[in-house]
């Protein structure tokens, strides 16, 4: 693996985890913990993205061990972002935001069974609360769990895609040209 991609991976993981400070400052219910994964995939392809995703989960696990099984989600995110990048969907917000919403649906569909069967939907306070809300609304247990993760995932992935699009377009050409797939992702190749 070329040394630049080797240097990219730890930085991309650190980005994903550092953005929580920004999110807290604006008090929005987002995670943005797949930002590094999606950005790395757009710049260097899904295999690098998967590495970033796995490592992000591993570091997250140090803080909340129940996050580990959700590494599957990070891998799916990397693969999805790879397809989106190849299709040049990062060329503007008009294509990126719907792509992000699509990923949000897929992500919550995948995380619900994991959350439900392994942890009874109690991975975070937010999820537990929205699940309780869903139950109060009369949804069946699995449905309530889906409701819990959907609400947070949907917006989160759309915002992440939008953010990555902004970054890719803000990169000076000289820097972007050094990453093999960056130009294709923004439809400029």
């Amino acid at each position: 693996m070329p040394v630049r991609l080797l240097a990219l991976i730890p930085v991309a993981v650190a980005i994903s985890l550092a953005l929580s400070a920004a999110v807290e400052a604006v008090a929005l219910p987002l995670f943005l913990d797949t930002t590094g994964t999606i950005l790395a995939t757009a710049l260097a392809g899904p295999s690098v993205g998967v590495a970033v995703g796995v490592l992000t989960s591993a570091v997250n696990t140090l803080r909340n061990p129940t996050f580990w099984p959700f590494v599957v989600i990070q891998i799916i995110v990397a693969l999805y972002a790879g397809l989106a990048a190849r299709a040049g969907l990062f060329r503007g917000l008009r294509t990126a935001v719907p792509a992000g919403l699509g990923l949000g649906v897929i992500a919550s569909l995948t995380s619900t069974p994991i959350s439900y069967f392994l942890f009874g939907c109690t991975t975070t306070g937010g999820i537990a609360l929205t699940t309780a809300l869903g139950r109060a609304l009369g949804l069946p247990p699995l449905g309530a769990c889906f409701f819990g993760s959907f609400v947070s995932d949907f917006g989160d992935k759309a915002v992440t895609f939008a953010l990555v699009t902004s970054v890719l377009h803000a990169l000076p050409r000289r820097t972007a040209a050094r990453f093999p797939l960056a130009l294709r992702a923004i439809g400029a190749a």
Partner: protein
Amino acid sequence: MNPLTLEGVEFHYPATEAPALRDVSLAVAAGEIVALVGKVGAGASTLLLVAADLAPRITGGRLTGTVRRRARSGIVLPTPWTQLSGMAFTVWDEVAFGPANLGWPGREIARHVERALERLEIAALAERDPVTLSGGEVQRVILAGILAMDPDVVLLDEPTAELDPAGARALWRLVRVLAGEGKAIVVATSDLDAVPAVADRVAWLEQGAVRAMGAPDLLAEEATCEAGLGTTVAGVWRAAGLAAPYPLTVADAIQRWR
């Protein structure tokens, strides 16, 4: 054969029209110290990257001309923090990072690391975590890490940027010692006052081309002083309206006064 030779080198960064280096030729002999001076963006850093075989290999871009390297080179870049390996939790391990990657046996690594720590006067920091160090200390650790790899060509980009005056003096002394051991040294620096005592030759870079090359007296000439690249003494002499040729160092000025 010289450890490092550049002939007619032209280099473009990726996706950039203007060349970063134009028709640059430079041959550095073993034991010689060449100083690169110039304004920001003149191409000194790029020249060092080309000499270190990092451009275009890692940076991308295209290079025409010839670069001949007889020996291994090591480069110290200007921003110390980004050069920390991230894989070492003590200064000792950080300095040993390079030699370990080269696959040297443990005892040889220890020998080189101890020597490098001594030379940079940071033996006392050996057990510290690199992230707790000051900018100047990190710069010395990085330099120690490069020296521990025993390169024959040492390339330094603004090595005294983070150091205090005493640290800078110690560093220039070390540079002379390294040259004395036969290493070829190319240093890009804006510390012009130190250059006469350290460098054997000076190359003045402007917009990617070598505008002038010669002995350090170059820094007391009219053209360099006008460009703001003369030594302080020469600049003051000129600004005072005193007659050329301008003195290069304080000692020269005192000589002229007598």
